[in-house]
Structure formats: C-alpha cells, structure tokens
C-alpha cells in the first residue's frame, strides 16, 4: 500500500492517528509520514474525551510528547505506551491502585520499563487496575472503577482493566499489563483486544508490585497479535535482578508470523465443562476450531477428566482451589512489608479485598494448616503440570474460551463476592499455575451490546512463537480484530 492510498483511506474512513497499530505507528513515524506532535495530539484529545468517564488512566505523563521527540531513531520510535500502575516508574507516581501507595514516587524504574524506554517507548500514563491486582474486574481499585470502552455499562475485566481499556479505546498505541491468573488475558477478552501472557520467567518481575511470586507474568496488551509480539521482543530476557528469569536466549517472537498452520494439531478444551457447555463462548471456540481446520490444522476436542488421564484435560475446578491458596498465601507474604515506615501509608489503608486475601493467605500458611492447604495445593499444582506436559506431546496448542463467564459482566458484578476473581478466571488458572504462555484474541462480537468473546490459545513452556503464529493466522482469517480489518 503506498502512502497515497493510505492517506486516502484515512480520509475516507475518518481514521485518526491514535487508531494506528504499534507497527503502523512506528513505520509512519520513521518514514516521517506523521510527526510525534500529530500523533500525540490525537492521543491526548482522545484521552481528554474518554478518560473522565472510563477512568482508564490514573496518571498521565505530561512530558510524553516531549520525550517522544527525541526517540525517532529507536525501534519503538517514541510511541505512547499505557503502563499498568503496578510497574514502578521512576519519578512517576505508582500506586497499584491502592491508598496504601497513593503518594509513592519510586526512585527507580522496573526492569521492563527500563527496557521499553531503551527501545524508544514512551510512558503515556499509568493505568487503573484492581488494587494490588486482586481481582478480575478493575472494580476493586481504590481510585474508582474503570468502564469498558466497548460498552460503558460493563466492566473491562481485570486486573489489567485500565491497560486493556486504553487499547480498546485507542488512547494509546500499545500497553503493558501483568497476569497472575487471567489478569492480562481476561480483560483483553472483555475489551476485545489482544492480551499476551508470556511463559512465567520469560519477562522480568523486578520492580513490579508483586502479587503471587510464583505465577506473576508481565506481558503486553495490544491491538494486534503482531503488536504484542513486537512488544514482547523488547520486554523479554534474563534479568540479573530477577533470579526466576529464564537463561534461554530471547527468540524473535514474530519469526513464524505468516507461516502456514498445515500439519499443526490443535486441542479444544473446556467446552464440555458444565458451566461452559452450550454457551456463546463454547460455540465461538467450536467455530474457531473450524477456522483452524480450514487453515490446514487438525482440530480435536480434549475431553475433561476428574483425574490425570492421557489425552484428557484435568477439570479446572481444582485449579481454582490451587490458585486461590497459592496466590493468597504468597500475597499475604508479599504484602507483609507494608508497615507505613519506608514509603507507604500503613496497613490500615488496605481495602476490603486486600484484607480478605492477606488474611486468608495468612491462614493457609499458618501452623497446623500449611500442610493441608499450602503444601497440598502445590502438590495438586504438580498434577496440572504433568497433565499439560502429556497433552503437549500430542498438541501444538490448546484453545479454549478465555472467560468462563463469556462476555463482560455489568458494572457492580464483582461486589460482595469473596471469590469473584478466582471463579471468573477458572479457565485460565490451570495454565498460569503451570507457568505456561497463553494469548487471548477476539473471536466474536455481539452486535447488540458491542461486547466481545475471547479465545485463549495456550502453548507449552517457552513456545510463545507457536501460539503467536496460530493467533495471527486466526486474526487474518477472521474479521474480529477491528485493527486488522479496517473497512478500508
């Protein structure tokens, strides 16, 4: 496509610069088709228009455009990235959406932020989240809920709801979030965008407010699969400041984009689960299966099982308990340092959800109960890992609905449910406790509500390239991604 046609296309479609994908924006900036000023003007206009109602950004970087101007000759060319407010950003307020940290100005950058800056990305602002990442709605933020840009009567999902919403609303070019069990993929699904959860250990956790140390996975949320793959290229890698990062070399995650799916074996999971069977979400995955078959892959259903059995997938019900115990135990430990002395406002400022989780996690580690709960949970975790190892001997990837509830739920849905997040993320917990990578992409849109369904594609450990390849192929072969399929 020449610039002329592109410009004409813009004029015809009234496309604004903030609607560019990351790859497009970088290309246009570097080719000097557009300037930083033009791009940032559109972004900032959109933020001013949408943020008051949707409450996606908690903090905006007033220097964003100014910083961008110096970054033309970098790989990311100074594009604006929305950053979840659990990434520590030097000299920029970082709250994890909690009153406890409401005045916290970190004196250092998290590793991922340092890497993104080095690659030429600019922090547009810090996005809203469930406080401490404790949730799947972004409704438990201490600074007000975020609303879903697709339909503001609905939740954006969480805990990276602000980032997912910033992408969906085109108030950024790309964003980063984090996932402990669902917190990247589920809001991506509810907001109709792409969310990529890397293998645990692929991306450094240093300088990110920890939630469950053994599953926390920072990752990109973007407009397209390829955008996410590009962001992951810059985020990934061994970090001397994080002992749990893999020593493996970082491959080019875009390497297999566009390659054929012929001969691949895809397993369809969880659509026979009693809560999922016959739902719109289940049907959308069945439909996706047919698309993959047309693309040359072999697609098979993997039936549910209550115990380990070759060729069958373990019922995710137990993963809810495993995840809740392990996560809350690690949360109770990771939040033990907030005592109002060094940089926070003390334990009295914790919100209700944080208090619940800290206390339950304290209980599951306590004398007399640790063996029955914490140790047992880690043993059942091993069973899930063994199950996936066995399935990945047969299948290249597994696909399933991202959200067990299907579409986004209405505002208020998370209130007073002591396990809202963990129940909602049931289908995502098995792969997170196993440390596997997964990507959620839009696979259906309801025209009446404008809400989306998402498909989760899970790959084996360290095999992000394959899930990216498969997700990208689906993106091209279907029309659910509004950025890939602009009516141009």
């Amino acid at each position: 496509m020449t610039d002329f046609f592109w410009l004409v296309g813009c004029l015809i479609n009234n496309m604004k610069l903030n609607e560019l994908t990351l790859i497009e924006a970088v290309k246009k900036l570097q080719a000097k088709d557009i300037s930083h000023a033009e791009l940032y003007q559109e972004i900032q206009k959109e933020i001013a228009k949408k943020n008051p109602e949707l409450n996606m950004y908690l903090t905006i970087n007033p220097e964003a455009e100014h910083e961008a101007e110096k970054l033309l000759n970098t790989p990311l060319a100074g594009v604006p990235i929305a950053v979840k407010d659990n990434y520590l950003t030097k000299d920029m307020k970082t709250t994890a959406s909690s009153h406890v940290l409401k005045n916290f100005i970190p004196p250092f950058d998290s590793t991922v932020i340092a890497k993104l800056k080095h690659a030429g990305g600019v922090i547009m602002g810090k996005t809203n989240m469930d406080a401490w990442a404790h949730g799947s709605s972004t409704e438990t933020s201490d600074f007000g809920r975020t609303k879903n840009p697709r339909n503001p009567d609905y939740l954006p999902g969480g805990s990276s709801g602000g980032s997912a919403a910033a992408v969906a609303s085109d108030t950024c070019i790309g964003s980063i979030g984090s996932e402990t069990a669902g917190s990247i993929r589920q809001p991506a699904s509810w907001c109709g965008v792409v969310g990529l959860k890397p293998t645990y250990g692929r991306v450094s956790r240093a300088g990110i407010v920890p939630m469950a140390s053994s599953t926390d996975s920072p990752g990109p949320i973007g407009k397209t699969v390829e955008d996410c793959a590009v962001m992951l290229n810059f985020m990934a890698g061994k970090d001397p400041y994080d002992a749990t990062t893999s020593i493996l070399n970082v491959p080019d995650f875009t390497q297999f984009v566009g390659k054929s799916l012929k001969g691949m074996r895809i397993g369809v999971c969880y659509i026979d689960h009693p809560k999922i069977i016959g739902t719109a979400a289940a049907l959308s995955i069945e439909q996706a299966g047919k698309t993959f078959e047309q693309l040359g892959a072999t697609v098979e259903q993997v039936m549910l099982s209550e115990s380990l059995a070759d060729g069958r997938i373990l019922n995710p019900n137990y993963a809810i308990a495993v995840y809740t115990i392990v996560q809350r135990s690690e949360v109770s430990s990771n939040l033990a340092g907030y005592n109002g002395i060094r940089y926070d406002l003390g334990r009295g400022e914790f919100g209700a959800e944080a208090k619940r989780r800290i206390m339950l996690g304290t209980f599951t580690l306590s004398k007399g109960y640790a063996d029955k709960y914490y140790v047992k949970a880690q043993q059942v975790r091993t069973l899930y890992i063994q199950n996936f190892n066995q399935l990945f001997q047969t299948y290249d990837v597994l696909i399933a609905p991202t959200s067990s509830m299907g579409y986004a739920l209405p505002l208020g849905a998370s209130k007073d449910n002591p396990m809202f997040g963990e129940l909602e993320d049931m289908l995502l917990e098995p792969s997170t406790i196993a440390g596997l990578p997964g990507i959620s992409i839009p696979c259906f849109r309801d025209e009446t509500t404008n809400l989306y369904l998402g498909m989760n594609i899970i790959a084996k450990q360290w095999d992000e390239q394959k899930m990216i390849q498969i997700a990208h192929a689906f993106e091209l072969a279907t029309t659910w991604n509004q950025w890939v399929h602009r009516s141009a």
Partner: protein, 102 residues
C-alpha cells in the same frame, strides 16, 4: 478451629493479629462468613489423592541462580532517595514511634 471449618469471629481475631491487619468487630463477622464460603471451595482438594506427588514450588526448573560478590554502585540509593517516600524521617533515619525490644 477444625477443618471444613467454621470460622468464628475469634478465629478471625487470631488471624488478623497474625497478619497485622486491623479489623473492626463488624468486619470480623463479614470476614468469617466470607472465609466460610471460600473454605468450602478450598476443601475440594480433599478429593484428590496426591500420595507420592512432590509439591511444585518453582515452575521454571531453574537452579543455582546466584550473583557474584560485587558491589553494584549504580543500583544503590542515595540517602535522599531511600528516604524520599518515608512518611516520617529524622536526621537520615526512618522514624517510628517507640517500639518494644524484640
């Protein structure tokens, strides 16, 4: 307390002390109810036989990740940076109201 438990407010009191989380009497009742709901889900693990299964504490399989004994000047904070977010500081120290000896 016994298992498949019924949490009472005194159980909540004990846990809140262990976790150093301030809770009001009213919160305690709500928390106890919430815990009782949650514990039923957690006890679903009772149905699973894990004999002979090792717990997984690390999913990466990594071992022996250490650092060399070198001072990392670049990462050290100045005193100012270390104290910049302290609610109260004094003469280069963080300050708390008088604590009892350990």
């Amino acid at each position: 307390m016994q298992s498949s438990l019924s949490f009472t407010t005194s159980d909540i009191t004990h846990i809140s002390e262990l976790a150093l989380i301030p809770v009001t009497e009213e919160e305690k009742t709500r928390l106890a109810d919430g815990f009782n709901t949650v514990i039923k889900v957690l006890d679903s693990l009772n149905q699973i036989d894990v004999s002979g299964i090792e717990p997984t504490h690390h999913v990466t399989g990594l071992e022996n990740i250490t650092r060399e004994d070198i001072v990392d000047e670049a990462r050290m904070f100045t005193q100012k940076e270390a104290l910049q977010n302290a609610p109260v500081s004094y003469d280069g120290f963080f300050l708390v109201s008088r604590v009892l000896d350990k």
